[in-house]
């Protein structure tokens, strides 16, 4: 039962990092796209799925709340300011999808800034959180005892940057597979730089960990099996490089996903059996069995697989590459303003006929 919920939590987190990773990454790459048409394609590639992607964050948070309430209460309150910052970034990013096409030009720029800014800040905060966990949380048994800025540790901040780079990289993979023309070419252009940046970050993270003599490194020497994961990541990286060279669009995202999964697995594998390294174990943090079982027989056994199924279904429905007709058409904003100015529907239809 406990193992199930650890696994479910891990799966939800990994899915979140991967799925929201690419749509946040698209947001980061958004301002660098060559023109408005490619920008629209980028948005269209994520518009139908971003909301479902983001829900995995809430799923992970509520699994944490339900199965490991001690961790939920410590982690979310310890990282008070970063969590608030992350929430606001996700808000500004989220509303931009709807607002962008309904706004007049000035406000469209505002929403775009919120979209891009939110897409940078949210993963930065998430990476910082992960990094802080690696560094260690000051705890006295059941309460967090650090200050409001304890998370401003060099490794944590570096992880924040690393998360941004990783998300941008997986986004480039997504763009390559889902778009055509200029947008796809853009994806190919930025991928190598991002991959290299990610490698540099990983080396940097390792170096900082060593210089701070972090406990997590000892785990690695204790558990050599963990080494398999970076090896898998390396193979995936090679696959990605080869796919990039030979323009095998559909290799990109799977290889990127393997790299993400390997990084995630390495971290999780280093922590076990601790949930908060190295002070609180999974056993200590867990809810009583009546809670775990209640969650299991409904949510765990039936609903979670169903959720995975319909998530896959939605992705299947939106398979294929993005075209000009996908997503929110640019006509929407002009439509609304045009017809708001005309006094009856009839003249608006005539207006459209004249334009169309």
């Amino acid at each position: 039962m406990l193992e199930f919920w650890v696994g479910a939590l891990a799966l939800s987190l990994l899915l979140y990092v991967l799925l929201d990773g690419f749509d946040l990454g698209v947001g980061m790459l958004f301002p660098f796209a060559p023109d408005e048409r490619s920008r629209r394609h980028l948005l269209a590639s994520i518009s139908p799925v971003w909301d479902g992607n983001e829900t995995w964050l809430v799923v992970a948070a509520t699994i944490l709340f339900g199965a490991f309430p001690l961790i939920y209460s410590i982690a979310v309150s310890a990282f008070y300011l970063p969590v608030i910052l992350m929430l606001l970034s996700l808000i500004l990013r989220g509303v931009a999808f709807e607002f962008r096409y309904k706004a007049k030009p000035f406000m469209r720029r505002v929403w775009d800034m919120g979209f891009v800014g939110g897409s940078f800040v949210a993963p930065f905060v998430q990476g910082t959180l992960v990094g802080s966990f690696v560094v260690g949380l000051p705890i006295d048994g059941v309460h967090f005892v650090g200050g409001p800025f304890f998370w401003l540790h060099p490794l944590a901040l570096a992880c924040g940057v690393g998360m941004c780079i990783g998300n941008a990289m997986i986004a480039a993979c997504w763009i390559i597979g889902k778009t055509t023309g200029d947008a796809r070419a853009f994806g190919y252009r930025v991928l190598p730089g991002l991959a290299v940046a990610l490698i540099i970050f990983l080396i940097l993270a390792l170096t900082i960990s060593m210089s701070y003599k972090l406990q997590v490194l000892e785990r690695w020497s204790q558990r050599p099996a963990l080494m398999l994961l970076p090896v898998a990541a390396l193979l995936a990286a090679v696959g990605m490089a080869w796919g990039w060279k030979t323009q095998r669009d559909h290799w990109m995202f799977p290889c990127g996903a393997v790299i993400f999964a390997a990084a995630f697995g390495t971290l999780a594998g280093s922590f076990l059996p601790y949930m908060v390294p190295f002070t609180i174990t999974i056993e200590q943090a867990a809810s009583p069995s009546s809670s775990l079982e209640f969650m299991f027989w409904g949510a765990g056994l039936i609903v979670m697989p169903l959720t995975l199924l319909y998530t896959a279904t939605v992705y299947f429905i939106f398979r294929g590459r993005v075209t000009d007709a996908d997503g929110y058409g640019g006509e929407d904003a002009e439509d609304v303003q045009l017809t708001a100015n005309s006094s009856t529907g009839a003249s608006a239809v005539a207006d459209e006929a004249r334009r169309g």
Binding site: A61, Y72, A346
Partner: protein, 463 residues
């Protein structure tokens, strides 16, 4: 650890603000999602363009409102942990699984199918498109269910024990989920949502008729909106009374505050209006109905004793004035909605409302009523529950994050206020513009159009 009391107060304000902001959107989108299903079903069954035009019109509005509901809802999922970590730690074994069920069975489902609803019409067969709309509507209702189960447990805690270190451990999930309090409160909330939407729809219809545009669609909106309201408002008033019953039974401090009743009375009168004064523990400017009307209302009895605020220890009393007034406003709005719904539906379904401008104006202006009633109802429920977070078991001051400093909460509160103000103002503007443009503004290609590249092509266009 004694908490910083200012931080607690600020956290309360922040929770109140963010949850009030959030509820506005589901109050609208729950009913709207269901209505979209009805419209799409009618459109597919009858093929009449008026239904399709209405669907596309309200779908755009749904997109904006749903998005705002989602982003503000995510904030709530984290706020339990950020500002109320003791509540999370201690009652997590009960509240956590309930919220997990909400995120799994409702949130994830509605968010995933929302994408299909907004973008997928030409990628799936018509029945599957309708099915996606139904999944979204189902998701919104399931969200209400689980959230209300959670809140009801906080109001009337059952099915648990408390361990030596203060952890609430569930012992009987059936009693936590399937009890009468949950049933009446879930119904009351879902009805509130449908009533809110029906008034918004009717008001939109009235607005278009007042401007003499989109008459066919406006007639449908008025008939369906007012018709549904006419059926649901009386049922909602009944459920409101049933909700009051549980408050009388389980939350004496709350009912005493709601009634503005300072002294025990047997039988009890009913205060209609007053200005409760907590320092003197009296009511000023009181207008009251004589006994036994209060006993009848609160306990359906001619002789029952109804508790007064002075019988509640001072440290267990909620804020009286807020609770008292919020409740009165909600009930008053409920009565107004009943009158409007019955009169409006009568005319909409008989001689029509087209020339009755004196009826159309109040119907048009009635669009905020559902929102106001929902908000004041929640204020009554939540402020009236104070000083308890888990009624009778965990005080709000004990529930807050102990290490939180006032400065941190000031920052978060200010940031939430500004960002929420920004997105609310503009969200409203965009919805207003969409409403104003009306459903007749865009002509449509038929369902299952062979040309998915021009889903909004002009009628008569042969391309």
């Amino acid at each position: 650890m004694t908490p910083d009391l200012t931080a607690v107060l600020l956290s309360r304000i922040q929770f109140a603000f963010t949850v009030s902001f959030h509820i506005i959107f589901p109050a609208f989108t729950i009913g709207l999602a269901a209505w979209l299903c009805v419209l799409e079903g009618l459109s597919q069954k009858t093929g009449l363009p008026v239904y399709r035009r209405l669907f596309e019109f309200w779908l755009k509005i749904f997109g904006v409102a749903f998005g705002l509901g989602v982003v503000s809802g995510i904030v709530m999922a984290f706020q339990f942990g950020s500002n109320w970590s003791e509540l999370s730690r201690r009652s997590g074994p009960i509240q956590g699984p309930l919220l997990a069920y909400e995120s799994f069975t409702a949130f994830a489902m509605e968010a995933s199918f929302f994408g299909v609803l907004m973008f997928g019409r030409h990628r799936v067969p018509p029945l599957m498109y309708l099915g996606s709309a139904i999944m979204v509507a189902l998701g919104t209702n399931l969200s209400s269910f689980w959230i209300l189960v959670n809140n009801s447990w906080m109001q009337v805690p059952t099915g648990f024990t408390i361990t030596a270190d203060g952890i609430f451990v569930p012992t009987d999930w059936r009693s936590i989920i399937l009890n009468n309090v949950v049933f009446v409160r879930v119904s009351h909330m879902i009805l509130a949502a449908y009533v809110t939407t029906s008034f918004c729809v009717a008001a939109t219809g009235a607005w278009h008729l007042l401007r003499g545009m989109h008459k066919a669609e406006a007639r449908v909106m008025l008939r369906m909106g007012l018709g549904l309201a006419a059926v649901l408002v009386p049922i909602q008033l009944i459920f409101g009374h049933l909700v009051g019953d549980y408050v009388v039974k389980h939350q004496p401090s709350k009912i005493a505050a709601i009634e503005g009743r300072w002294y025990d009375e047997q039988p009890a009168g009913e205060v209609l209006f007053a200005w409760p004064d907590e320092t003197t523990e009296t009511n000023r400017f009181e207008i009251r109905l004589p006994a036994p009307i209060g006993s009848l209302i609160d306990s359906s009895s001619l002789t029952s004793k109804e508790i007064g605020i002075k019988s509640i220890p001072v440290e267990d009393r909620p804020p009286i004035a807020i609770t008292f007034f919020a409740f009165r406003i909600m009930v008053g709005i409920g009565m107004l909605m009943l009158v409007l719904a019955w009169a409006g539906a009568f005319f909409a379904w008989t001689s029509g409302l087209e020339d009755r401008r004196r009826m159309l104006w109040p119907i048009f202006l009635s669009f905020p009523l559902g929102f106001l009633a929902t908000l004041t109802g929640w204020i009554t429920a939540e402020v009236g529950r104070q000083p308890w977070t888990i009624f009778g078991h965990l005080r709000t001051t004990e529930a807050a994050t102990p290490t939180l400093q006032s400065a941190e909460v000031v920052i978060s509160l200010l940031v939430f206020c500004s960002v929420y103000a920004l997105i609310f103002v503009f969200g409203t503007i965009y919805i207003y513009r969409l409403l104003r443009a009306g459903p007749g503004a865009v002509a449509l290609s038929p369902i299952g159009s062979p040309n998915p590249k021009r889903p909004m092509s002009v009628r008569g266009d042969t391309a």
